[in-house]
């Protein structure tokens, strides 16, 4: 296996401590999901052209376990172990993104707005 790849799948394996205020993908089982993607591709002899990779935090924590497929930039989440075969078969092999598993970006917590700069004149 060597780049470039026909498709490149990134599975977030970021892990936060159990008492962290935000959930994290590894704490929700994403390492097993990464392994399942790798196995499903190898089983089909596709791991020379499609690569599954662990990644750091994809910043979609509220929707995790998070997965993104490039170059088409299709995001999935939350992904379960049971979804892996579906994504591999329908999308990675068949070329049709799995609409029902697409990430709902509206559920992701946005960073707090920066407070507007003061319009008051500077006192000299």
């Amino acid at each position: 296996m060597a780049p470039p790849y026909r498709r490149h799948v990134f599975i977030c394996t970021n892990r936060r401590p159990p008492d962290a205020p935000r959930q994290s993908c590894a704490a929700s089982g994403s390492e097993a999901i990464r392994d399942a993607f790798k196995k499903a591709l190898a089983k089909r002899g596709l791991n020379q052209e499609i690569r599954a990779n662990a990644s750091g935090c994809l910043e979609a924590c509220e929707c995790g376990p998070s997965v993104v497929v490039y170059p088409e930039a299709v995001w999935y989440g939350p992904v379960s172990l049971d979804d892996v075969e579906t994504i591999v078969e329908e999308h990675l092999v068949g070329g049709r993104p799995v609409e029902r598993l697409r990430m709902d970006f509206s559920k992701i917590r946005k960073p707090a707005e920066k407070p507007a700069e003061s319009k008051l004149p500077t006192v000299r």
Copy 2:
């Protein structure tokens, strides 16, 4: 910062032991390169739309430290700390891939060919 991103940069931070036969990106300084990408994007206020992520082994070890930019699937390597500002300015901001830093895929070790199956008849 939240997906989807206009551009998504993955920096391999796989680390092998010092005595491993194949080099690895983290052992060649890729964690500092990842940090430099994150800082360069934040400095320009671009980290809401362009994300730099650590990744597992991208299987381009001989060309590492390895970096890939999606959705355009442009591969760079070996990338040095000094190259980060160039890639950010010319490619991520300017939209023009940095031709001189592109990865030479011919340098990557391919997996060994599987031996052909024997054509001899099975002895019963």
